[in-house]
Amino acid sequence: MAERVEGPGRAVAVTSLGAVTAFGAGVEAFWRGALDGRSGIAPVTRFSADPYRSGVAAEIPAGSLVREMDELATGASPATCLAFAAAREALKGGRVPGAPERLGVVVGTSMGGNGAFVDWVRNGTVPAVRRSEATLFSVASDLARAIGARGPTLGVSVACASGTLAVGIGADMIRRGECDAVLAGGFDVLSEFVFAGFDSLRALSPSAARPFDRRRDGLTLGEGAAFLLLEKASRVEEQRRVPLAIVRGYGSAADAHHMTRPSPSGEGLVRAVTAALSDASIVPEEIGFVSTHGTGTVFNDRMEAAAFRTLFGERADRLPVNSIKGAVGHTLGAAGAIEALLCTLVLGRGEIPPTAGFEEPDPQCPLDVVVASPRPLPVSVRYVLSTSSAFAGTNAALVFERP
């Protein structure tokens, strides 16, 4: 049998980033908005929100994807345009391998390209996009074709933790020696289908998400895409390039509790983070910042606070955390990728963005939430953590290291 031995501890560098969020196209637009503590949440324009208890969402500003819409106009879905815009930016800053067989693609999504299919079921409309575009996997395969990747190409879909899984699985591909580089990320487009569904669960905030705030009353949906170019760190070093961050650990775990309600103690999230810390060969005390899932629902935020108490003990009181969902909304399959991107920027630029929407601490969430203005990340901090929790009880976590 042919054999390739796994490379234990093979380091994975983040070398480039791409994003499209409610702050517009581009990583810099995202970072500026996040640092300013702005909120991209505004009245819904994509469809009539009159039938619903909430009328707001974090939509991508009109005109952000003009170039992609033009280039991909024939038969491409909005989801494809969105993902391509973020992926294109991520590919600009890095260096893909010369051998296409060594380049992989991993894309996380909750709805994928199913939007056209849903429209057809609901309205009987003939889809403007190719039907083959209207699948869970279509964006990943289109992306692989467009960039000439011939290595492993996967779609992953674990609802709101999809983006985190995509980065974790992509990093694993490099660590095992399967790829030299992987384009990993996630995307999702706002739709009335999802809006109505979350409203039926009474999970939407009527005003705007306020993660970890005492008066929080639900999440706000968003849309977006984010991609990270992951490369074998030794190759980056040989080429005398400087990574933005190192993906040090990844873990996932099932709650095994309930399909929509998180386990109150957060034990599934604890297991996922413990797995990621173990993968990174570090202890909880070494984590200096957490980009939380922080949806702004009563149960999620309380669950996360409980999990962090278990993981970090009394240190949870003074461990800086934030949630970006008060700024760019809950972007579902993109969320974990956006938060991975945020962790990379926090490590590289030394500042933690505040949590938009947070005003009043919740005694049931005794956390050191970064609010109002950016907080410097101490230079002594080497590791940061990103966490995601999803419907059907999937939790995932990533550990990033300062390069």
């Binding site: 079921v121 996967l154 009335e192 409203d199 775990a253 099932a254 419907f391």
Partner: protein, 314 residues
């Protein structure tokens, strides 16, 4: 390109309602099945297949959840069954109060993971792969990687698909009289329980000894890379039994004598690779071959190859 999971198949489960040979009937399972009525076709297919494989592996339900037991499932269309039903509900509802939150909760693609984890107390890694027709095979490969990396002591890994009549209508409209579907689409689920290979090679263990995956939209290039990998993987060894898991719509696998599983089962989409993997294990167990290679391909580009061997003859 090549990874070597070197993991053992500790259990198998197959669930194809209406398959030739008779309706399988609802299996008796040692777990709470009260949630079955809430599951859609996709979740049910995966739940039954995964549960059957766990029973065969001798795994018992755990409380509290066992962090060393993982679940990885693959699919092409995931929860489209529920997605359609919720869309139809949305179409006919006059207010949001008429929408079913329980139905919306089923419109995520990791429901098989969630249902198996809840019923069996699987508290370890949980991942869902959505890579078209290679989804089931990719999930098995990913499950093997998790075991090999020590992230789990055992992983139930497989593929599932649930076919709503509206899905068939959608595909038939796409063809609009220009052809027929590659096979009759049907619900299916299949799973393997994967565990670390044992040191003792004298046993009748069946190993997932070698596997690869790549992306190649050009069918002739996909065929060339597949042949090249088989040559490398089985150099100097007995040629394996080849099972083409997915419909060979563009002839990528036409150069070899294959058992075309889709011709026997119908179009199983993301479940196909896992179904073929279970059939491959069965062939080895029946001593009809010492090794079997499962080839899955989606015309969009992904190819996944799984090689099963037994130390007895491999």
């Amino acid at each position: 390109m090549t990874t070597v999971p070197s993991v053992r198949v500790a259990g198998t489960g197959l669930w194809i309602p209406g398959r030739e040979g008779g309706e399988p009937g609802r299996p008796r399972l040692p777990v709470d099945v009260s949630r079955l009525r809430r599951m859609d076709r996709f979740a049910r297919s995966g739940f039954f297949a995964g549960s059957l494989s766990l029973v065969e592996a001798g795994i018992v339900p755990n409380k509290p959840p066992d962090a060393t037991l993982g679940v990885v499932f693959g699919t092409a269309h995931g929860c489209r069954d529920s997605l359609i039903d919720f869309t139809l509900e949305l179409r006919s509802s006059r207010s949001v109060e008429q929408l079913s939150p329980a139905l919306f909760a089923e419109t995520v693609h990791n429901t098989v993971n969630g249902e198996l984890a809840i019923a069996w107390g699987l508290g370890g890694p949980s991942e869902t792969i959505a890579s078209g027709r290679t989804g089931g095979a990719d999930a098995i490969l990913r499950g093997a990687e998790l075991v090999r990396a020590g992230r789990a002591a055992a992983v139930v890994a497989g593929g599932a698909e649930g076919i709503h009549p509206k899905m068939v209508e959608w595909w038939e409209q796409e063809l609009s009289g220009k052809g027929t579907l590659a096979g009759a689409p049907r619900d299916a689920g299949a799973a393997l329980v994967l565990a670390p290979a044992r040191a003792n090679a004298e046993t009748d263990d069946i190993l997932l000894a070698s596997a690869t995956r790549f992306f190649e939209p050009d069918p002739s290039e996909a065929a060339r890379r597949t042949a090249s990998w088989i040559d490398e993987a089985f150099e100097g060894k007995e040629r394996p039994l080849l099972l083409a898991a997915t419909p060979d719509v563009d002839g990528a696998f036409s150069a070899w004598p294959c058992r075309h599983v889709a011709a026997e089962t119908g179009e199983l989409y993301g479940a196909a690779g896992a179904v073929a993997a279970v059939l491959a294990v069965q062939e080895i167990r029946k001593k009809r071959t010492g090794s079997a290679l499962v080839a899955s391909r989606d015309p969009a580009g992904p190819v996944t190859l799984l090689a099963f061997v037994t130390p007895r003859r491999g």
